[in-house]
């Protein structure tokens, strides 16, 4: 169950357009698994992503990237202490 700390870089117009930031934060609030943990600082917004599995992590990530006004999403922290060994991607090919 991954827990991620991420930083979203916002397009400048999000901050300058009337209602732009509020609209954006509403969109964030509607994204399952995402929690706002601070205010945007010079267009950088810290978030925590908490999902049930790695597939969820990937879909939340994709949802964030696709939000209008998001220039980039970067990682700051990740935990995978409940790691279970993933299967080999190349099973059947090994000697």
């Amino acid at each position: 169950m991954p827990v991620l700390g991420v930083v979203v870089t916002l397009a400048p117009e999000i901050g300058t357009c009337p209602g732009g930031l509020a609209s954006f934060t509403d969109a964030i609030a509607r994204t399952p698994g995402v929690a706002m943990v601070g205010e945007p600082d010079h267009g950088r917004l810290p978030l925590v992503l908490e999902t049930e599995d790695r597939e969820g992590d990937e879909s939340v990530w994709a949802a964030l990237v696709s939000l209008p006004g998001v220039l980039a999403v970067d990682l700051a922290f990740a935990d995978f202490s409940d790691l279970s060994e993933p299967p080999s991607p190349l099973q059947g090919l090994s000697s």
Binding site: T9, A11, G43, R54, D74, L75, F80, S81, P89
Partner: protein
């Protein structure tokens, strides 16, 4: 996971993200969040550079009960300021794929069966004993610096052989020859700090949004702060980087040379070149067949050579509108702007890679956009230590540590002195470069194939070499040829190997890397490797000792073992014996020996312990009167480089003309060795994707990355697909004169090639695009061209 622990984790994630957000906005660096407290007492944290690309981001590695359990961006690291890309965040998972190699394996009757380390070492030594000259080592920009140094010494001093070359030959060799031909010494003069000062970033065939995401974030972040940064993407296909660019200049493959010449032509014609900078610090150079340093030419000859490269002529050659060539020239002609050029594989994997590199350097020199923060021509590297281990340690067949070359007597004498060898102990003839090495390995002995054994470490040539049907496959049918591979997972190369050695990786061992901005980084071993996996450095030293024990070499002129090591009290330590390998810090001893070479070309390194304290230091690192060590961000500029003579603003102190001048080159555009024709009507370009790192050996074991990008594909333009009756996702056969590949089509996918062009990523070992590529290479760097060859496409069902 209990709720209390999960709360801890969320708090930690929150603290790290908040710290990273404030750091990235230029706020003073906060300390790393107190991760230890937040995660509880069981987790210990240490720094390490990321295992993947040449950016050199630092991570904090969280270890609990002998397992890496968490990764955080390191807020104290200047490179990434607490941020990581999607690969960096998953780097800890790269250790824990289910199919790690844990025992040596020997091929017996077609099957790989477990054997002991002792037997494996004996077999390697037998191969050396049979014919030392035919034994070769093929290494990597993923070797740590001490490992690469040990490998270099193993071959060049221990076996008195120069048959060692790295996979970096395939990725940045042309950048090296470009720097050498221009400045007389390798590696960028600028650094990543330029990304914060540049007004204009020019991407020459480069896609940092996917290949160097954290660096690209540093640029994009400036825009989020309201700064104006103009990005110009000069490429052969649209990529994720293009989406952020104000200008996209789409050129026909190989014609980047014409574009560079067109800009130089306009700078001269418009009188906007920097006459003062050029007259004081530059000279002119033109090509001379077979000579890396070419020949001196006059300014008049340079001007005359460029005369034909009018914007209209360049448009005709390249397809880039003349107006865009004028736009570029206008930017270079404006000294108020700061311009940083970035490039990587697009310019390097090029049969005229050296020439193209010199042309971009030449634009910066001619226009005076050099040596001020933000004004720099900067090459990027794809591997974490292509610079540190290959370019600085000199693990190529012609090189010696510290920027030396085997063909120079002075450089050989230094190596003989440091390694305590007799005079003449280093051979003066280069060994075989990578393509030649593998070609000879795949050629029968009776036909000149004089390489009988290759030991591969930390790389996957059966996937990444070009034209595999010629360079690799024949060797597997020749009983005289023997392939040894040290790696962490089964790969395309281990699968065809005769002997496989299980290796430790990343924080399973001590290490040092050197990133793309001359930054040397250090880390300590934090977890144990699985099973019988052992350090690549130990493997080399263990074989070296067996060679020494049998009296076959590996000794200095006094008869001592070349890797003789003593502890703090002067007592010998048998580091070739695995239980004793960590009795001393072998890395520290090797590095402190290696740094003796570093002053020769002003690549000065500090003592090992200085790197323990730092998040990397950029060489030259110079000791100050108070005993501290100062790194250098901008070389050749007096405001920052201690080696520039007093009273001079700039000095190129390794100038090839020995007069302190850099060389502005003219190199003509010439067509590529293979172009589309009636039989093979498409261009094929190969490359990388965000989710996977190079051949996918590590990222293929990380489920989120694998699932995000599960297999290779061929990008095709919608119009071409329509003409051929191909639908999105349909399986097609892509075929060149060398081989073919069956894979699905992605129309209007992540990247968008223009009509007549295709793109295939090389990460997928089930779909080896290098059965299709050609192995023509640059005449100076010997780097193959993976970016252009001619292919045809047909529906698999047709």
């Amino acid at each position: 996971m209990n709720s209390e622990r999960r709360s801890f984790l969320k708090l930690t994630a929150m603290a790290a993200a908040t710290a990273a957000a404030s750091r990235a906005t230029g706020a003073p660096a906060p300390a790393n969040p107190d991760l230890r407290d937040r995660l509880g007492g069981g987790v210990s944290w240490q720094k390490a550079p990321c295992r993947f690309c040449g950016t050199g981001c630092h991570v904090q590695v969280g270890v609990e009960a002998g397992t890496v359990v968490a990764i955080a961006g390191d807020t104290a690291a200047e490179v990434n300021k607490g941020l990581l890309c999607v690969k960096g965040y998953h780097v800890g998972l790269a250790l824990y794929g289910a199919d790690r190699l844990t025992r040596p394996l020997l091929r017996v009757d077609g099957k790989q069966v477990p054997i002991s380390w002792e037997r494996a070492i004996g077999i390697i030594t037998d191969r050396i004993a049979a014919d030392p000259k035919g034994f070769a080592l093929y290494g990597s920009g993923q070797w740590t610096i001490p490992e690469g140094y040990a490998a270099n010494k193993f071959m060049k001093a221990g076996l008195r052989s120069n048959q060692i070359d790295p996979n970096a030959r395939l990725c940045m060799a042309s950048a090296v020859t470009g720097f050498l031909a221009t400045y007389g010494v390798d590696e960028p003069a600028g650094c990543f700090d330029d990304l914060e000062s540049a007004d204009v970033i020019i991407l020459w065939g480069n896609n940092p949004a996917e290949m160097h995401p954290v660096l690209f974030s540093r640029i994009v972040d400036r825009r989020s702060r309201g700064e104006t940064v103009t990005i110009i993407d000069i490429g052969t296909r649209r990529t994720r980087s293009t989406a952020h660019a104000q200008h996209f200049l789409q050129f026909k493959p190989q014609t980047d040379m014409a574009i560079a010449n067109g800009v130089a032509h306009l700078l001269l014609n418009n009188g906007t070149w920097d006459k003062d900078f050029v007259s004081r610090y530059c000279a002119f150079r033109g090509p001379l067949e077979g000579e890396l340093n070419g020949q001196a030419i006059t300014f008049e000859a340079y001007t005359a050579a460029l005369a034909e490269y009018t914007p209209e002529y360049v448009e005709k050659l390249s397809g880039v509108p003349a107006a865009d060539i004028r736009m570029l020239a206008g930017l270079f002609g404006d000294r108020k702007k700061r311009i940083t050029s970035l490039w990587c594989m697009g310019m390097n994997q090029h049969t005229r890679g050296t020439a193209m590199n010199t042309l971009v350097h030449g634009l910066h020199l001619l226009s005076g956009h050099f040596g001020r923060p933000g004004d720099a021509p900067t090459s990027l590297t794809g591997q974490p230590s292509a610079c540190g281990t290959v370019r600085e340690v000199g693990t190529s067949c012609h090189a010696l540590p510290g920027g030396g070359v085997v063909t120079k007597e002075k450089h050989r004498h230094l190596a003989e002195k440091v390694w305590n060898l007799p005079e003449g102990g280093i051979l003066d003839k280069p060994g075989y470069h990578a393509v030649e090495m593998w070609k000879r390995f795949s050629t029968p002995k009776a036909e000149g194939g004089d390489i009988h054994t290759i030991w591969v470490q930390v790389t996957n040539p059966a996937q990444t070499l070009p034209n595999l049907h010629t360079l690799v496959d024949p060797s597997r049918k020749d009983p005289d040829k023997f392939l040894i591979v040290s790696d962490v997972y089964p790969t395309a190369t281990t699968r065809i190997a005769d002997l496989v050695l299980p290796s430790a990786m990343w924080v399973e061992k001590n290490g040092m890397y050197g990133n793309s901005e001359r930054r040397t980084q250090q880390w300590f071993k934090q977890v144990k490797p699985p099973g019988e996996a052992r350090d690549d450095g130990w493997q080399l030293i263990a074989v070296a000792h067996e060679v020494y024990r049998r009296g076959l070499g590996m000794k200095d002129k006094d008869g001592a073992f070349l890797f003789h090591t003593v502890d703090a009290k002067g007592a010998p330590v048998p580091i070739w014996d695995w239980p004793h390998y960590y009795d001393v810090n072998v890395d520290e001893r090797l590095f402190n020996e290696y740094r003796l070479f570093s002053t020769m070309k002003h690549k000065n390194l500090a003592p090992y312990q200085e790197y323990v304290k730092a998040h990397g230091l950029r060489w030259p690192v110079v000791e100050q009167p108070d005993g501290t060590w100062k790194e250098t961000r901008w070389r050749f500029a007096s405001f920052d480089d201690s080696f520039v003579a007093k009273g001079k603003e700039f000095e190129f102190y390794h100038s090839t003309t020995e007069d302190g001048r850099a060389q502005i080159w003219f190199n003509p555009y010439t067509p590529p060795p293979e172009s589309p024709d009636g039989d093979y009507p498409f261009w094929l370009c190969t490359g990388r994707v965000l989710e996977h790192w190079h051949s996918g050996t590590l990222t293929g074991r990380i489920p989120p990355l694998r699932e995000a990008m599960p297999q290779a594909y061929v990008e095709m333009h919608r119009a071409d697909a329509r003409n051929l009756g191909i639908t999105n996702g349909e399986t097609v056969i892509v075929e060149s004169r060398r081989g073919n590949l069956k894979l699905p089509v992605w129309i209007d996918g992540r990247g968008s090639p223009p009509p007549g062009s295709l793109f295939i990523p090389f990460f997928d070992e089930r779909l080896l695009v290098n059965h299709v590529t050609l192995h023509d290479y640059d005449p100076f760097s010997k780097q193959p061209d993976y970016k252009k060859c001619a292919v045809r496409v047909r529906r698999a069902t047709a």
